[in-house]
Amino acid sequence: MTSLIPILTLLVFLPLCGSLLTFAVRRSDNAVRGVALAFSLAELALSLLPLMLSGQKAAGAPAGFFLYQDAAWIERFGIRYTLGMDGISAVMVLLTAFITLIAVLSAWGVKERCGLFFSLLLALQGAVQGLFLSLDLFLFYLFWEAMLIPMLLLIGVWGTGRPVYSTIKFFLYTFVGSLLMLVAIIALYLMHGAQTASYTFALPELVRTNIPHDIGLWLFAAFLLSFAIKFPLFPLHTWQPDAYCDAPVAGTLMLGSLLSKTAAYGLIRIAFPLFPEASRALTPLIYVVAVLGIGYFAWIAFAQRDMKRMLAYSSVSHMGFVALGIAAWSPVAVSGALLQMVNHAITTGALFLVVGMLEERADSRDLSRYGGTWGKIPLFSFFFLVFNMASAGVPGLNNFVSELIILVGTFRVAPLAAAIAFLGTILTLVYTVRLVQEVLFGKEKKPLELKDLSPREAGMLAVMALVVVYLGVHPGPVLDLFKTPLEVLLAK
């Protein structure tokens, strides 16, 4: 079956086709929504399909990959169109499909230039899927940058506040990093070519390159910089609150839930395996910025009055755990980091969604405008609370499991870093309960006309809440998927 249907190519190009089709029918808003929904559902179904194959091994694929596709592309440079799926990418692909579906649903109310909006959303999805699947470094880079344009427009055209400033800031930040990464990629390619006389960008090949220590350090630094910006890690984050705040809800969802994961994925899949020594050497640095980030962002989040900005800082703060887990680079820690990526995507995504709904209703993100919603819109408040508690790491919900795994995994390697990082969860709770309290509790400061969730909204949130709970009580299947690929990745 795998040989008959090019599932991986379909996974990448189905959204792109959807994007074109959506754009083609842009005259009718209903048609646009229908097409977008149909394609994102189809993508979700398609991304569930490979899970049945996990455990098998595809012909010609590197170890751990159960779906694989390879074709010549730009022969002059040995660039190939190589897609492969292992457990990690399977989960990421599924996550992408899921989040995009939610994003499509959340953007139901977009009125202005609806066609273009959904078209960009699907294009973005295609790029992200491609990134999670590509095994050729050049292809990876291509998708890495291709994500930028749809995102740029999503923020800039439909954003609020200072969208142009934010979007260009976002773009420039990520662009600077990724161009330096390009230099590193080329250098690596040339070194590998000089050593083996086979010029290729294939990741499994490049991993075997013998890199001198000091050069490796520079190259790794370039990769790290690029990923750290997208992550974002501590001093490179200032694009992030602006972009998150000013983006439309669906955009924030994609940005916060998926794009930051691409960076973590890049670190796990590319940077660390490629430069084992250099990454060891720079690990203390990553620990420091991760730990600093967890605490610092949580602390700043507390000072925010703008809910979205608070969530933006909260999002970076949580991503610090991912960085921590990756830096530890032990099987347990990395599997925790991967799970945390999934959990963060869903929890943060859901939080942005609920805040977006609130904003839609009362046209304000200012915390002090709200209060006492529990009595007025109980259903909304219920979900609001659930997702906030998930974010605060209440056990039984998803984030707890991954944070625990990260803690346990990291503690073995770097007890101090892990311990300090977990002190940060106190700060997390501080701003979370503040958010909950200011919105749900107390009395209304100003009478607001609030309507409770519509069936569409309730459905979205219910599904997300179910996932939150499911991953909190039974993350086993997901963790199992990570096992084989991590064994391969960490064997080196």
Binding site: I74, L142, V157, F171, L180
Partner: protein, 464 residues
């Protein structure tokens, strides 16, 4: 000289014939048909060149249809055809009448076709000067705008001085090596100093042509003053021609290590200055001019590597840059109303009120910024690849960083197009010719961006 020899240089014959024909029969024909003749002729020449087989020996004494010509002539013809397509309605709006415009474009194309075919320096030089010459005329063609004439004067004065430098360089090369022929290794080791002086002087002349710092100062003025289609043509073909000249000469002489530093300095200065000066530039044409300075800086970075990869990168970048700038200036030309839309802010909201042209302009900007999946990315990748391979990693990093900064001003245009409300009335509808030209250019950007394989193969053949 036989008929078959003539066949091989047929593109040159076609373009020269078309230029003369247009000039002679111009007064009797409609301007639309003149444009049609011009486009047909350039398309024919381009196709002929693309499909013909390169010869190893001279067809006519002084001319030889080389593999390089086979690659470059279609590029030039493409640029000329697009320019002609664009210029028709532009000229009508501006009151640029007469057969002179298409004829001069064809003359420029003729000279451009001669350039890569030349087998000696004299023809090379003459071809290059003819190209400049045609552009002196084209730049000042718009008699209704004072800027056009002013730009023409500036270009002419600078160009003439540069031509003197170039000619002096050729003279020194000749004096040092004793031949004007472009075959075989020429330098006599004992005359190396003269040759290097000649090279230095030629480099200065080419710094003007490629608008490398400090010979770049004319660029913004001329791009601004010239009619937009002319800027499109000028910014692409004349640069590629100059780059090709350098390529031919570099291939001829053994590596000149002493040129490395000057070339590197030119390249770095251009990359940095071009990108910085464009950052806050309000006038879109001047912005593109500075961007062109920067892009030529990248191009000379590839030249610097002195390797086959570097030369291939130069050719690829030439082709890519042609497509990008044609699209950009094409959109600008097509969007201009009674007067040019000069300021970046004049483009507010046009992405939605004029979707095709706005889209093409945005695409061109994205490509110029070097973001995949556009041709600009492949071009930049190749440039920096060759630079790193050539060992100039520091330069590559400077270039990359300046390229990163450059994204700002390209995106500013995109932001204006899509993220600002338009106050101006909706622009007039796009004409068929313009639409065709824009679609051609953007198709090229996308195709090279996604599947550059065939083009790279063609370039490798061209460099044999």
């Amino acid at each position: 000289m036989t008929i078959s020899d003539l066949y091989t240089i047929m593109p040159i014959v076609i373009t020269a014939g078309a230029a003369l024909f247009v000039l002679l029969c111009g007064p009797m024909l409609l301007s639309a048909s003149l444009t049609a003749i011009g486009v047909t002729a350039s398309a024919a020449a381009g196709l002929w060149a693309a499909l013909g087989t390169p010869a190893s020996t001279q067809a006519v004494s002084g001319l030889c249809f080389t593999p390089l010509a086979r690659f470059l002539i279609p590029v030039f013809c493409f640029a000329a055809a697009v320019t002609l397509l664009l210029s028709h309605s532009y000229n009508e709006r501006r009151g640029i009448k007469g057969e002179e415009f298409p004829a001069t474009v064809l003359f420029a194309l003729f000279a451009l076709c001669v350039l890569p075919c030349a087998t000696n320096m004299l023809i090379l030089f003459l071809a290059l000067e003819s190209v400049s010459f045609a552009f002196y005329i084209l730049v000042s063609m718009d008699l209704n705008r004072a800027e056009s004439g002013e730009a023409g004067l500036k270009y002419l004065l600078m160009g003439a001085v540069a031509a003197a430098f170039t000619a002096f360089g050729f003279a020194l090369l000749f004096t040092g090596s004793g031949t004007l022929q472009l075959s075989g290794a020429l330098a006599r080791p004992d005359n190396r100093a003269i040759i290097s002086a000649g090279w230095g002087v030629i480099l200065v002349g080419m710094a003007f042509k490629l608008s490398l710092v400090p010979g770049h100062l004319w660029t913004p003025d001329v791009y601004q003053g010239a009619p937009a289609p002319v800027s499109a043509f000028l910014s692409t073909s004349s640069k590629v021609a100059a780059a090709a000249l350098l390529l031919i000469l570099l291939a001829l002489f053994p590596p000149m290590p002493e040129l490395r530093v000057p070339l590197a300095a030119l390249s770095v200065l251009s990359m940095v200055l071009g990108n910085l000066a464009a950052l806050l530039q309000q006038n879109i044409k001047r912005m593109l001019a500075y961007s062109s300075v920067a892009h030529m800086g990248y191009l000379s970075l590839a030249l610097l590597s002195g390797s086959r990869d570097g030369y291939a990168a130069v050719l690829l970048y030439g082709a890519v840059y042609t497509a990008m700038n044609l699209a950009a200036f094409g959109a600008i030309s097509s969007l201009s109303i009674d007067e040019e839309r000069e300021l970046v802010t004049d483009y507010a909201g046009l992405g939605f009120t004029a979707p095709l042209r706005g889209g093409v302009l945005a695409l061109a900007m994205i490509s110029l910024a070097g973001i995949p999946p556009t041709a600009g990315f492949i071009g930049k990748f190749f440039i920096f690849y060759s630079a790193i391979k050539g060992g100039s990693i520091a330069l590559a990093i400077i270039g990359i960083l300046s390229a990163a900064a450059s994204a700002y001003f390209y995106l500013r245009v995109v932001a204006q197009l899509y993220m600002h409300r338009s106050q101006a009335p909706a622009p007039r509808a796009v004409s068929l010719a313009e639409g065709l030209a824009l679609c051609l250019a953007s198709a090229m950007i996308l195709v090279i961006g996604v599947y550059p394989g065939p083009l790279l193969k063609a370039i490798d053949t061209a460099l044999q």
